[in-house]
Symmetry: C2
Subunit: 80 residues, 2 copies
Amino acid sequence: MPMYDRAEEINKLFGRKLREIRNSQKLSQYELWLISGIATSQIGKIERGTGNPTLATIVSLARALKVPFDDLMPRELLKD
Amino acid sequence: MPMYDRAEEINKLFGRKLREIRNSQKLSQYELWLISGIATSQIGKIERGTGNPTLATIVSLARALKVPFDDLMPRELLKD
């Protein structure tokens, strides 16, 4: 089953992980913007699960938070 | 420096990794389409570095190839 049908769920899970990691590093969305270059409005949308982050955005966030991609990508997405 | 400026480079690196892993599993683009649901035209674009894969597409490909996200995402992207 293509994951397109689960894009909403995937984006929500990713958003929750992003917020979790950002909070664990005691960073505001503004501070994450300063480090990643991703606008706070976009960060907010992604965290609410309504953004549809592209590869470049995911890379920017992982670099800024200094976490491997696997940490940002919810592992449950790899299971059926 | 936001990674947007390096989106082209990121997409190229990702595309190369995708092709590398697909070939190592002896899968054609057609067979990867059957498993992932991502159209062969889109797979071709992504492998050439001209597609701009979203999170849901990246998840579909990682699941289909049964690899962790970190394998698909070129590690050099995490370094300065």
